[in-house]
Amino acid sequence: MPKIIKDGQVVDDSWQLFELSEDSELANAAVPTGQWIVPLQLWLAQRDKLKARSDIGIQIGIDDDIELLADDYDSVPLLAFDFPVFMDGRGFSAAFLIRDRFAFKGELRASGAFIRDQLCYLQRCGFNAFALSAEDLEAAKDSLSDLQEAYQASADKAPLFRRRG
């Protein structure tokens, strides 16, 4: 089973990415049982059916509008945010908004082209799981704690000026 960094540990990844085959239609594609991460478009096309299940996560792309899921944040167990290139920082703001504005409590996973050296910032913006490809995950995990103290607010922590003393 593939591995992932989650909540600071290297663990088995029990989720699989559901990929649409080219000719499948969104409305008809059948998502088998098991833990699947489905593309946002598929979720939107089959929302009622998929929402009834507790084993469906959603993959969000960099250009997707996170407001489309406003009614789903309180029930979906997992969101995977896909980074097309690591220099595209929109995902950092998206994560912050997903946690802070939409109060999402489930697993927020970074996937795609981000790099190990971003782990610490990603975590502070609200990601708690990291599907890092082609890396020694045990070594990479250390980067989560590169910067332990910080001036500004994090998704789950007040800014330093409220804690200084």
């Binding site: 690591f86 220099m87 920082g89 998206a94 912050f96 050296d117 001036y151 607010a153 800014p159 000026f161």
Partner: protein, 554 residues
């Protein structure tokens, strides 16, 4: 000045350690070139034409004597013995070895200096008036707020990978010396009619390829809400700014495309949502920041006696007189003055200073200015708090050390980027142009007669020397691999920020001094009593300059 506590130190130490490990992984081949690139940039390290360049922040221009000595030591131990003061008040080392940079950063961290986010697509060093806290025309001291912004922006997790670089300036004086209108965000600190402290917020100013003056998006932002508002602006920019074309990626392009009103609406909506949150500043924090910028122990003298003795010395020493006129500025305290040490003597690259000179400046700061100095965006160094009865003594020492060229604010106080001699982005050299101009216009009396004149030279469109807002701006351009120089007239920084207009076709490097001479002749021939260059230009327009400069020689 701000003094680090254990939190500030531990944040900086973590950062230094993080970069040390990243550099080791890179040198061992475990970190790819393209991944290391933004990481090193965010630690101030460029790879330039000839060697790496390390840019160290001088937060809003404040530097103390301990720091100056440390910079001198680093320049000696790791570099070629000199540094460059940049047009954003920072200090640049031109020749460090990549492998040494972690050690350099560790040495600087010991004296509370860092290179964090001094380059890269992130929030850069916040800049302010070099006379902050001591200017006569200052409404409030901007430095506590600059420090609050420095801390908020340092290692901000959400805004480290913006579409493009992001610069904030804070102005708090009647006369804006921070060029706040040509920054991504320009803040005017003031008190409103109700006596509350806050900021006028401008967004979307900037120079470079598409020079624009910022638009006011909020007339009054209460001081407690500074950081929530900045978060909101940056969040909108981070999400909506263009990433497909680096020339269209600055916030100014977004603001222009959306219109300032529509942009402000998005910001206000996000701000309303978060303004009561925990980023709202506490009074304790504002007071804490202010506590570092209290007045030093000024003494007072028999003002009349001091003024008399200065007048006598002036009469006796013409050079002292010139220096007082050009390089010394009245302080908000009657018995004090601010002295600008000129880093623009002819024959030295504008803004360059040697390690020996840095140590002398440190000594002078200790002796005459409460141990503090300021870097300026005109690339000079200011001793801010000099007692007037010590001016003559200071002048003699500054002169011996080569800092007393009495040219501040004149044509030869040129703002000049490193250009083609160092910078890999350059289209053309800029330092030799500055030198040629300084050599041609060496007659001080002529310079004084010309009055205040901002001459800015950039080696490319990136406009690091702010050529658009120089009264006269020179821009290096490349035409089929050859270096040419375009001349612009009529720019202005400050309250009445204006962008210069192009005079006409570009010139050869060799022609620049005589082109300038023609321009100055037109000014001298046409000026009315008491007019500065810019006023004459505005009255008579571009045409006479154009005619004279491009007239065929008979």
């Amino acid at each position: 000045m701000y003094i680090y506590d254990q939190h500030d130190h531990s944040i900086l130490q973590q950062r230094v350690e993080q970069f040390r490990q990243q550099t080791e992984r890179y040198l061992a081949g475990d970190l790819a070139e393209e991944a290391f690139l933004p990481l090193r940039l965010q630690n101030g390290l460029y790879v330039q034409r000839l060697a790496p360049m390390l840019r160290v922040n001088v937060p809003y221009g404040m530097i103390n004597s301990t720091q100056l000595r440390r910079v001198a030591r680093v320049a000696r131990d790791y570099d070629k013995g000199y540094v460059h003061i940049s047009t954003r008040q920072n200090i640049q080392f031109n020749w460090p070895d990549l492998a040494d940079v972690p050690a350099i950063l560790a040495e600087l961290a010991e004296v509370e200096m860092h290179a964090t986010q001094s380059s890269g697509n992130c929030i850069r060093n916040t800049t302010a008036d070099q006379f902050a806290g001591i200017a006569e025309d200052e409404l409030l001291d901007p430095r506590p707020y600059c420090e609050i912004i420095r801390q908020w922006s340092t290692l901000h997790p959400e805004f480290a990978f913006l579409p493009r670089k992001f610069k904030i300036a804070v102005n708090a004086a009647k006369e804006d010396r921070a060029a706040s209108q040509v920054h991504d965000i320009g803040l005017d600190l003031y008190q409103n009619e109700a006596g509350e402290t806050g900021f006028r917020v401008r967004v979307g100013g900037g120079l470079g390829r598409t020079p624009l003056v910022g638009s006011v998006v909020r007339e009054f932002l209460p001081e407690q809400e500074l950081l929530s508002y900045l978060d909101a602006v940056l969040r909108v920019y981070n999400q909506k700014g263009r990433r497909d074309n680096k020339y269209k990626a600055r916030i100014k392009i977004l603001v222009k495309a959306m219109g300032p009103g529509a942009f402000a609406e998005l910001v206000e909506a996000e701000w309303e949502r978060i303004r009561e949150g925990y980023t709202r500043l506490t009074q304790d924090e504002i007071d804490r920041a202010k506590s570092f910028f209290t007045e030093p122990a000024y003494s007072s003298f028999d003002t009349v006696a001091v003024d008399n003795s200065i007048s006598e010395l002036r009469a006796e020493h013409t050079a002292f007189d010139k220096w007082l006129t050009r390089n010394v500025r009245q302080h908000k305290k009657a018995d004090y003055a601010s002295v600008t040490l000129s880093l623009k003597p002819t024959g030295v690259a504008p803004g360059d200073v040697t390690e020996k000179q840095l140590e002398i400046i440190a000594d002078l700061a200790d002796e005459y200015s409460f141990g503090e100095a300021r870097t300026t965006h005109e690339q000079n160094i200011v001793l801010g708090d000099v007692a007037k009865d010590k001016l003559f003594e200071l002048w003699q020492k500054a002169k011996a050390a080569g800092f007393a060229t009495p040219n501040i604010g004149t044509l030869t106080d040129i703002i000049c980027c490193p250009g083609g001699d160092y910078c890999s982005l350059a289209n053309a050299k800029s330092i030799p142009i500055a030198e040629a101009i300084q050599r041609r216009f060496a007659d001080m009396d002529y310079l004084y007669d010309l009055g205040d004149l901002d001459l800015n030279i950039s080696g490319c469109m990136n406009a690091c020397a702010h050529h658009h807002v120089g009264h006269i701006g020179i821009l290096g351009v490349d035409k089929k691999g050859e270096e040419f120089y375009q001349v612009q007239l009529g720019g202005n920084a400050g309250n009445d920020t204006k962008l210069g207009k192009v005079l006409g076709p570009a010139f050869d490097a060799d022609d620049i001094p005589s082109v300038l001479e023609k321009i100055l002749n037109i000014f001298v021939d046409n000026r009315h009593e008491g007019e500065e260059f810019l006023q004459t230009y505005e009255r008579i327009g571009m045409a006479p300059f154009k005619e004279r400069v491009y007239a065929k020689d008979h």
